[in-house]
C-alpha cells in the first residue's frame, strides 16, 4: 500500500460512523455529568455508575429477553447509585471527590461480584439481546450522511439530540436558571425560595440516569454481553470531556465527539498499521494519553460553576 491508499483506508466514512458508534456512551455519561456539575456537584464515580448500568442492562435483557427493559433497568440502577452518592455527598456533606472514588470502587467490586454470583463464572455474561439498529430508507442514497447515520443503534439519534435539548433547558427555562444558580451561588437560590439541596439531588439523579444508560449502551448495543470492567475508563474520559467542554452543552458534546473520534481512529489504526511498527498495547493507551494531553493544553479557568465541590450548608454564612 502506498501512502494515499493507507490514508484512504484510515480516513473515510467508516471512521466517522464508528466515531458516532463509540461516542454515544461517552456523550450520555458526559451530558449526565454536565447536568450534575452544573448544579455544583462533582461526581467522580460516573465510571462506576456506568458499570452498574452496563450490568443492569445486560441482566434486564438476559432475564426478560427485551433489551428495552434492560435499558430502563440500567437507568433505574444508575439513579440508585446516584441516590447513594447524593445522600452521602449532598446530605451528609462528605467530600465529593472521596465519595465519588468510593462509589467507583464499590461499583467495580459489586458489578464483578454480582456477575460471578449470578452466572457462576467470571469474566463475561452470556450473550444477550441487543437494541435494534435503525435503518432509514430516505438516507440510503444520501452520500456521507447515509453511511454515517444509517444502521446505528436506535438510541443514537435521540442521544445526539440531548445536547440541543439541554442547551434549551439550561438557558431558556426557569429550571435551567435554578440548576445553574445551585452551582454558582446556592445561597442566593435559597433566598428566592428554592431548595438547592433538592435541585442538586435532582441533577445528580438525572446525571446518573444518563450514565447508567450510557453504560447499558456498551453492553446491549455496542456489544451484546457484560464483561468485567467493560467501561474501561470511559467514565473518566466523559469527566474529562465535561472539563474540556467548559461544562456547557455544545462544548461538552464536541469534546465527547473528539474523544470518540480518537478512540475510533485508534481502533482503525490498529487494523491498518502492522503490530511490528506500532504495537496494539500502545494504541490502547492512546485514548487516555490523548485525553490527558487535551486537558493539559486546556486553559486553567474552565468556566465551570463557582460552587462546585462544596457542600451546601444552610447554617453557614
Amino acid at each position: 500500500m502506498n501512502w494515499s491508499e493507507t490514508l484512504q483506508a484510515i480516513f473515510n466514512v467508516t471512521l466517522l460512523a464508528s466515531t458516532i458508534r463509540v461516542s454515544i456512551s461517552i456523550i450520555l455519561a458526559g451530558m449526565g455529568e454536565m447536568i450534575t456539575e452544573r448544579s455544583g456537584v462533582l461526581n467522580i464515580g460516573v465510571e462506576g455508575t456506568m458499570l452498574m448500568g452496563a450490568l443492569a442492562g445486560a441482566l434486564g435483557s438476559y432475564f426478560t429477553g427485551n433489551p428495552w427493559i434492560g435499558l430502563l433497568a440500567a437507568g433505574i440502577v444508575g439513579m440508585l447509585v446516584g441516590l447513594l452518592f447524593s445522600f452521602i455527598a449532598i446530605s451528609l456533606h462528605s467530600d465529593q471527590s472521596i465519595t465519588g472514588l468510593a462509589i467507583y470502587l464499590l461499583c467495580v467490586g459489586l458489578s464483578g461480584y454480582l456477575l460471578q454470583v449470578i452466572f457462576e463464572h467470571g469474566g463475561n455474561s452470556p450473550m444477550v439481546n441487543t437494541l435494534p439498529t435503525l435503518h432509514m430508507k430516505f438516507l440510503e442514497n444520501v452520500p456521507v450522511l447515509g453511511p454515517i447515520f444509517n444502521d446505528q443503534s436506535s438510541i443514537a439519534i435521540p442521544v445526539l439530540l440531548i445536547p440541543v435539548i439541554l442547551q434549551i433547558v439550561f438557558y431558556r427555562t426557569p429550571w435551567g436558571s435554578w440548576l445553574r444558580a445551585a452551582g454558582e451561588n446556592p445561597k442566593a437560590l435559597a433566598v428566592v425560595g428554592k431548595n438547592p439541596v433538592k435541585i442538586r439531588y435532582i441533577a445528580t439523579l438525572c446525571g446518573s440516569f444518563l450514565a447508567g444508560i450510557g453504560g447499558a449502551y456498551l453492553s446491549i448495543s455496542q456489544t451484546s454481553l457484560f464483561s468485567e470492567n467493560m467501561v474501561a475508563g470511559r467514565g473518566f474520559i466523559a469527566l474529562s470531556a465535561v472539563i474540556f467542554g467548559g461544562v456547557k452543552p455544545g462544548g461538552v458534546f464536541l469534546a465527547c465527539i473528539f474523544f470518540g473520534f480518537m478512540d475510533a481512529l485508534q481502533k482503525t489504526l490498529q487494523t491498518v498499521i502492522p503490530d511490528t511498527i506500532m504495537p496494539r498495547e500502545l494504541f490502547m493507551a492512546l485514548p487516555y494519553l490523548l485525553t490527558l494531553f487535551a486537558l493539559a493544553g486546556f486553559i486553567k479557568k474552565s468556566g465551570g460553576p463557582a460552587d462546585i465541590g462544596n457542600p451546601y450548608l444552610k447554617e453557614s454564612r
Binding site: 467522580i44 462506576g48 447513594l84 452521602i88 451528609l92 456533606h93 462528605s94 467530600d95 471527590s97 472521596i98 465519595t99 465519588g100 472514588l101 468510593a102 462509589i103 467507583y104 470502587l105 464499590l106 461499583c107 467495580v108 467490586g109 459489586l110 464483578g112 461480584y113 454480582l114 456477575l115 460471578q116 454470583v117 467470571g122 468485567e228 474501561a232 475508563g233 473518566f236 474520559i237 469527566l239 474529562s240 472539563i243 504495537p279 498495547e281 500502545l282 490502547m284 493507551a285 487516555y288 494519553l289 485525553t291 490527558l292 486537558l295 493539559a296 486546556f298 486553567k300 479557568k301 474552565s302
Partner: protein, 359 residues
C-alpha cells in the same frame, strides 16, 4: 465517668473510624447473605485463610508490606492536599524498572539491592510528576489525571513483557532477577521476606518527615488550608509537586519490594490492585503512618483470607474491591456518626472535658 468520657471524646476520630469499618463489614455481610452466601462461613474461612497457620500468617504479613508502603504513598500525598489515585500505575512502572535493573545489572548485593529498589522508586516518582505538572501548572484535577495514567502504565508493562523483553516459560514476565537483587526470605517455606524492614523504615521516615521536619510541617499546612499556607509564605505548588513525587516514589518502591521479595521478576498483572487498596488503607488509617500499619494489617488479612474464602465457600474474589468501596464510603460518611457519638459521651461535665481537650 469523667475520665472515661474524656478518653472516648479525645479519641473520637479513631473510634468513629472503627465503628464505620465495622458497619461497612456488617453491610458486606448483608450483601453476602442476600446473594445466598453464608457470612459466618465466610468469616470462618477468612480467618483460617489469613491466620490459620504459620504459612498463612506469614503470607498475610507479606501482603501487609506492599499495602503499608503504598498506603504511606497515598498518605504523604493526601496530607499535602494531593489525592494520588495513580498508585497502581506508579507501582507497576516501579516494579518494571526494578525488575529490569535486577536482571540486567551485575553488582554485589550491597549495591545491587539498593540500586534496584531506588530505580523503582525513581521511576514511580517521575511518573508521579506528570499529574503534578498537570495539577499545579494546568489545574487538572489530580484524581482524574492519576486514574487515567493507570491505563497507559498497565498497557506499557503489558507490552514490555509480551513483546520486548524475552519471555522465560509460558507466563508473560521478565527474566528472573539476580540473586544479589533479592530480599531474603525470613521464614523458610513462607513468603515473608526482608521487605518488612523496608516497610518499617518507610513508616518511620514518613512519621519523621511529616511531624518532625519543617518541610513536613509545610506540607501538612498546605493540606490543611492552601490559602492560609500561601499567606504564610509557603510555596504551595512546590510542596505539592514534592508530595506528588514522593507519593509516586513510595508507590514505585512498593512495586520494587514486591519484585525483590516475592516474585523475583516482573510478572504481568502481579498486583491484585494494591494501588487501589492503598487509598482505603490510608483513609482507614486516618492518614497517620502508624494507623496505616494497623489498617494495612486488616486489609492484608483480607487479601489472603479472601483467597481461601473464594476456594472453599464459593464467594467471588471480587468481594475485595466491593469491601474497599463500602469501607471508603462509610469512612467518607463517618461524620454522620460523629454527632451521635459526641452525644453519648457528653454529659454535664462536657464543658470541662472539652476544655481539657482543647488545652
Amino acid at each position: 465517668m469523667h475520665t472515661i468520657r474524656k478518653f472516648f471524646l479525645k479519641r473520637q476520630p479513631v473510634f468513629i473510624t472503627v465503628i464505620a469499618v465495622v458497619l461497612a463489614f456488617f453491610v458486606v455481610g448483608i450483601i453476602l447473605a442476600a446473594t445466598d452466601r453464608n457470612p459466618f462461613n465466610a468469616v470462618y474461612y477468612f480467618v483460617r485463610g489469613a491466620f490459620g497457620n504459620v504459612v498463612n500468617t506469614a503470607d498475610t504479613i507479606s501482603r501487609v508490606i506492599p499495602l503499608t508502603i503504598a498506603g504511606i504513598a497515598f498518605l504523604v500525598g493526601a496530607q499535602c492536599a494531593v489525592f494520588n489515585v495513580g498508585i497502581e500505575g506508579q507501582l507497576l512502572l516501579g516494579a518494571m524498572a526494578s525488575a529490569i535493573v535486577g536482571y540486567v545489572v551485575k553488582l554485589p548485593a550491597y549495591l545491587h539491592l539498593p540500586l534496584m529498589l531506588l530505580s523503582g522508586a525513581l521511576v514511580g516518582g517521575l511518573y508521579g510528576l506528570i499529574p503534578a505538572w498537570l495539577k499545579t501548572k494546568r489545574g487538572v484535577n489530580e484524581i482524574l489525571s492519576t486514574i487515567m495514567l493507570n491505563y497507559p502504565a498497565t498497557y506499557l508493562t503489558h507490552f514490555l513483557v509480551l513483546k520486548v523483553i524475552p519471555i522465560e516459560g509460558v507466563v508473560p514476565a521478565t527474566p528472573f532477577i539476580e540473586d544479589t537483587a533479592r530480599l531474603p526470605i525470613l521464614i523458610e517455606g513462607t513468603q515473608l521476606h526482608a521487605g518488612v524492614f523496608v516497610m518499617i523504615l518507610v513508616v518511620i521516615f514518613a512519621y519523621f518527615l511529616l511531624y518532625k521536619t519543617s518541610l513536613g510541617y509545610e506540607m501538612r499546612a498546605v493540606g490543611y488550608n492552601k490559602t492560609a499556607a500561601r499567606f504564610h509564605g509557603i510555596p504551595v505548588e512546590k510542596r505539592m509537586n514534592f508530595a506528588f513525587f514522593l507519593s509516586g516514589a513510595l508507590a514505585g518502591l512498593a512495586g520494587a519490594v514486591e519484585v525483590a521479595g516475592v516474585h523475583y521478576r516482573f510478572l504481568d498483572q502481579f498486583s491484585p490492585g494494591y494501588g487501589y487498596d492503598s487509598i482505603t488503607v490510608a483513609l482507614v488509617g486516618l492518614l497517620n503512618p502508624f494507623g496505616v500499619v494497623i489498617s494495612a494489617t486488616l486489609f492484608g488479612a483480607l487479601k489472603t483470607g479472601i483467597l481461601e474464602m473464594s476456594v472453599y465457600s464459593g464467594i467471588p474474589r471480587q468481594l475485595t474491591t466491593l469491601i474497599n468501596g463500602i469501607v471508603v464510603l462509610f469512612v467518607a460518611a463517618k461524620d454522620i456518626l460523629g454527632g451521635g457519638y459526641a452525644r453519648i459521651f457528653r454529659g454535664k461535665d462536657t464543658y470541662e472535658a472539652e476544655k481539657e481537650i482543647s488545652q
